[in-house]
């Protein structure tokens, strides 16, 4: 069979790949075939029958030659019955008719059947106006019903806090059931009963025990499943729809915000658009609420006479610029540090570090506020292949093997998790998950391998996997010097047996995992904040680079090492040099030739010192060496690793400037607070975990008194004497694209609707293979391992400003293995005190056998629970003591 076939749809002949479904071929030929049950992410089912078409093949005469008619065209032998387009694949020479009398009559018949029991409640249905059944009833349906009998009815149900079910409207296309199964891996929905009584519901009609993503609502072609938070809020034609980029995780999903007046009423995905298409996780779908929160700052604040008071923007800018100038003059620019910026758009990140480096002359810039140890600015770049093309997220779901290192993707990047689940279901993807907890992807139903390492042995595990990979020799295709370095690394690492003891995973399992990774043709290693925010981050990322080379993930054609960062634009922050020792594009400031374009453009001589990273800034500020801090879009009081130290640091600083949407705990301690615009109120570019640039759109105008961060930076830079004159983010992007290696040649216009992934033909950094050894640091001590990580429902200080997400997340809980809890005399729901070297937190305990014994798990996103009160982690992690306490639950 040839790779492509010719097929004629309604007289239009097109060439499509063999194996294409008729519905997809028709879309290619721009012929409309209606669809209910088929979905691009789901295997063909053929449940609803609305896509019926007439199909025929050329008639064959003697000698199997096509018979031609009088006009010379081949005669077509039409199949006697219509076929479903969504389950039939095209064949060479196939003819399809969607507009013949037979097809139209069949479709009308299907439509009549679908409408037999469908209620006529479109005016009060939330789907009315954007309902596919409504549209098709207009297009193909009859304008009367021949049914005299009463319609069958069901009682409507609330399936949990998100999903409202009105089964009367259901056409049993099974999209929701299949999507929940194939894509989410939750299997929360199922079809009850049979025949005309079929009804979609949950186990025993209980509230759904699932990720509450609402994708079942999204894929529902009718109004059977609707969103309770959006219930009766608006009709579709009231809404202005703006497609922008979700502000939460680094997957960079496109969200379609529905805006009425100045209020965002809902967020949805869009089929056939964005990296995510229709998919949105619970944060993407319901996490927009903070934008219209009444608690938003409505003007800049200045600390005058001890308390923060509203001030005009110009006044605040003048004050901030004057104070910065004074401090730079009195203590040198190194006394000023810039923090945060993971959540900003690319242009704003660029301006932020340009303000620090080009205007003030300090290299103390770091976006990784949560980091506990310094990580070289190019470490993640080298670990991910120094700018080699990254797999797209779609390709990731088609990989043969995916190794997830340390991250619970359910919390960090739900879409990446869903793609891996989809890949496992549909494309034979095999998962290997290295995580001390049994996270969702590690469940046996996904058929993967769970490397349940002991907490604190992360580095040993990656090294052992590298050693096991190198037992088979150096992979083919690596450069010669890498090969030599790998060979000497192999002898330095020894055998996996040593690692097996420490990690608690048998050497055989390690070897099998390494072998699968090396053998897979298309593969990915995924890592994220669990390792980059680890006290041994530098060694861990080096170890990942070693593993990447040793397993071929950095050399094989369809393989990638992917960094799934902590925020939606963490990759952009790295690219834009929000690290103390790298300029935008990972340019080493020590390299005179490479830094010259920046010096010329910025009109300044750069500070060539290595600068201070976030943990070092924290230390220096606490000791009084750093006098001024500018913290952008970050609740540093909560995210800094050590609470006592951050309190001291903010107290000792002469000037603290904060950009935020809300008066956060950090902002309350600031001297200048700038009211910033939210993601929906500004334009800009975000770079996701596949290094794809996407333009976000402005859906509403900024809240009165709030300004985009980029405008604030520009105003202060001008206050400091710089001659910046950027009118739009596009101006900034043009400068970025001119200066930044890897971004060169990119234009603003090509970033819509889906921008390209940036790559660099020449590696931006040479390979470095070195034994990854943990720095000899203080031992972590004894006690339980404090495990923390992302959680599905909350991420960052913005997520708990709305109504839905905190409600879904519930209260913070300390999760303990039942055996561990029994040893400590703790029961489910008991109040426990977790004490570390720096202090303690008190919260309720939950028993969870997914958490390993010898550890306690608390997610860090909860508002009421500040884990940094426990003290900074040391060695390979943080160890705490847990005891039952009678004390009342004390928030924060």
């Amino acid at each position: 069979m040839s790779a492509t076939v010719k097929v004629t749809v309604d007289g239009r002949t097109i060439e499509v790949p063999a194996g294409t479904l008729i519905t997809d071929a028709a879309r290619e030929a721009e012929v409309h075939v209606p669809i209910f049950c088929a979905h691009s992410k789901l295997p063909p089912l053929g449940a609803c029958r609305i896509c019926v078409v007439e199909v025929g093949m050329p008639k064959l005469g003697p000698g199997r030659l096509p018979v031609t008619g009088a006009d010379g065209a081949p005669e077509i032998a039409w199949l006697p019955k219509v076929q479903t387009g969504c389950t039939t694949t095209v064949a060479d020479g196939m003819h399809v008719r969607t507009d013949s009398a037979v097809a139209v009559k069949a479709r009308k018949g299907v439509m009549e059947f679908l409408l037999v029991n469908h209620p006529l409640d479109c005016p009060v249905c939330d789907e009315g106006g954007e309902c596919q059944l409504q549209d098709l009833a207009f297009a193909f349906g009859a304008d009367f019903s021949r049914m005299a009998d009463a319609k069958r009815t069901f009682v409507s149900e609330d399936l949990g806090p998100i999903v409202k079910k009105e089964a009367n409207r259901c056409i049993v296309c099974m999209r929701c059931v299949r999507y929940c199964d194939e894509m989410m891996g939750d299997d929360a929905l199922t079809a009850h009963q049979r025949g005309v009584l079929t009804e979609i519901s949950s186990f025993n009609r209980q509230p759904l025990e699932c990720e509450q993503c609402g994708n079942c609502i999204e894929v529902c072609p009718v109004g059977a499943l609707t969103a309770l938070p959006y219930r009766f809020k608006a009709r579709p034609w009231d809404l202005r729809q703006h497609i922008t980029v979700c502000p939460y995780c680094p997957a960079g999903c496109s969200v379609r915000l529905g805006v009425r007046g100045m209020e965002i009423l809902r967020a949805r995905g869009t089929e056939f658009r964005g990296v995510n298409q229709e998919y949105l996780c619970v944060r993407g779908r319901f996490g927009y609420e903070f934008v219209s929160s009444p608690d938003r700052l409505s003007s800049p604040l200045l600390r005058l006479g001890g308390s923060l008071a509203p001030a005009g923007f110009d006044e605040a800018v003048t004050y901030a610029a004057a104070r910065l100038r004074d401090i730079a003059a009195a203590h040198g620019p190194q006394a000023i540090a810039f923090l945060g910026g993971d959540k900003l758009n690319l242009e704003e990140q660029y301006l932020f570090q340009k303000l620090a480096r080009g205007v003030l002359g300090t290299s103390n810039v770091d976006a990784r506020t949560r980091a506990t140890a310094r990580l070289p600015g190019d470490a993640i770049l080298r670990a991910t292949g120094a700018g080699r093309p990254s797999l797209t997220l779609d390709q990731l779901s088609r990989a043969g093997e995916a190794l997830v290192l340390g991250d619970d993707l359910q919390g960090e990047a739900p879409y990446v998790q869903s793609l891996l689940i989809l890949g496992q279901h549909q494309n034979g993807l095999h998962l290997t998950v290295a995580h001390p907890r049994r996270v969702k992807l590690a469940r046996s139903k996904f058929g993967g391998e769970w490397l349940a390492l002991k907490p604190g042995s992360e580095l040993t595990l990656v090294n052992a996997l590298t050693a096991a990979s190198l037992e088979a020799g150096v992979p083919a295709g690596v450069p010669a010097e890498v090969g030599a370095a790998l060979a000497s690394l192999a002898s330095a690492l020894g055998s996996p047996e040593a690692g097996a003891r420490e990690t608690g995973i048998s050497a055989d399992d390690l070897r099998r995992a390494a072998k699968r990774l090396c053998a897979a043709d298309q593969k990915a290693i995924v890592f994220g904040r669990a390792y980059t925010e680890h006290p041994q981050a530098a060694a861990l990322v080096q170890a990942i680079e070693n593993l990447g080379w040793a397993s071929g993930a950095l050399t094989a054609k369809r393989a990638s090492v992917m960094f799934v960062g902590p925020q939606h634009d963490s990759q952009g922050a790295l690219d834009m040099g929000l690290t103390p020792d790298r300029l935008p594009g990972y340019v080493d400031p020590a390299d005179a030739a490479a830094r010259r374009p920046f010096e010329q453009q910025w009109g300044a001589a750069l500070d060539l010192s290595p600068g201070l990273s976030a943990p070092e800034i924290l230390e220096a500020a606490a000791e009084g060496r750093v006098k001024a801090l500018w913290i952008v879009a970050d609740e540093w009081v909560k995210s800094a690793p050590d609470r006592a130290r951050i309190e001291r640091a903010l107290e000792r600083c002469e000037l603290v400037i904060v950009n935020d949407l809300f008066l956060t705990a950090t902002a309350k301690r600031a001297h200048v607070v700038f009211a910033a615009a939210s993601f929906a109120e500004k334009e800009g570019v975000a770079v996701n975990c596949e290094r794809r640039l996407q333009r976000s759109a402005r859906a509403i105008s900024p809240r009165r008194g709030a300004r985009p961060d980029g405008e604030i930076f520009q105003a202060v830079a001008r206050g400091l004497g710089a001659t910046w004159s950027y009118r739009t983010p596009e101006d900034v992007f043009r400068e970025i694209a001119r200066l930044t290696p890897g971004y060169q040649g990119l234009s603003w216009a090509q970033l819509l609707p889906l921008g390209p992934q940036w790559t660099s033909p020449a590696p931006l950094a040479g390979p470095r293979i070195a034994p990854a050894i943990a720095p000899a640091a203080a031992e972590a001590g004894d006690g339980l391992w404090m495990l923390s990580g992302g959680t599905l429902f909350l991420q960052g200080s913005l997520s708990y400003r709305g109504a839905q997400l905190p409600k879904l997340a519930g209260e913070a809980r300390a999760r303990l293995h039942p055996d561990q809890a029994q040893r400590l005399g703790i029961g489910d729901g008991d109040t426990v005190e977790i004490a570390g070297s720096g202090g303690s937190v008190t919260l309720a305990a939950t028993l969870d056998d997914a958490v390993p014994a010898g550890s306690v798990f608390v997610p860090y996103a909860f508002r009421e629970c500040d884990l940094n009160r426990l003290g900074a982690p040391a060695g390979a992690g943080l160890r705490v003591r847990v005891r039952k306490t009678a004390a009342a639950l004390v928030g924060a």
Binding site: P123, V124, F232, K233, A234, R235, W237, D238
Partner: protein, 148 residues
Amino acid sequence: MLKELGQGLGVTLGNLFKKPFTVQYPEEKLEMFPRFRGLHILTRHEDGLERCVGCELCAVACPADAIFVKAAENDPQRPNTHGERYAERYEINMLRCIFCGMCEEACPEDAIYLEKNYELSDYDRDAFIYTKDELLVGPEKSGYLPQR
């Protein structure tokens, strides 16, 4: 010439004794025709519940974009309508309204009618935005539907 003058005055005199067409507004008011389209009313069911379910079909049908509706879910204990939803806010901007009656045509619930009230003057532009409590008929007119 006198003859013409007489004829002319004759017409004047004749009209002087005819019944006048004008009425002494506002003391005296004309009765409008049954299908006259004046100020809108929102009607009630026989049991006093509102007919309007907040579906916004009137708003989308309105060629002058004069109608604003915001729906909400009924409290099952104290419902406003028979169904699940009702119009929390229902506003018509009478400065925009062209009294075409399309809202009435579009309404699937017989909830909105253009009635005979034409006295729509005021001193303030804001006063021309008629809110739901001004449009909704009193409970004493439950079940009332204008003749069409």
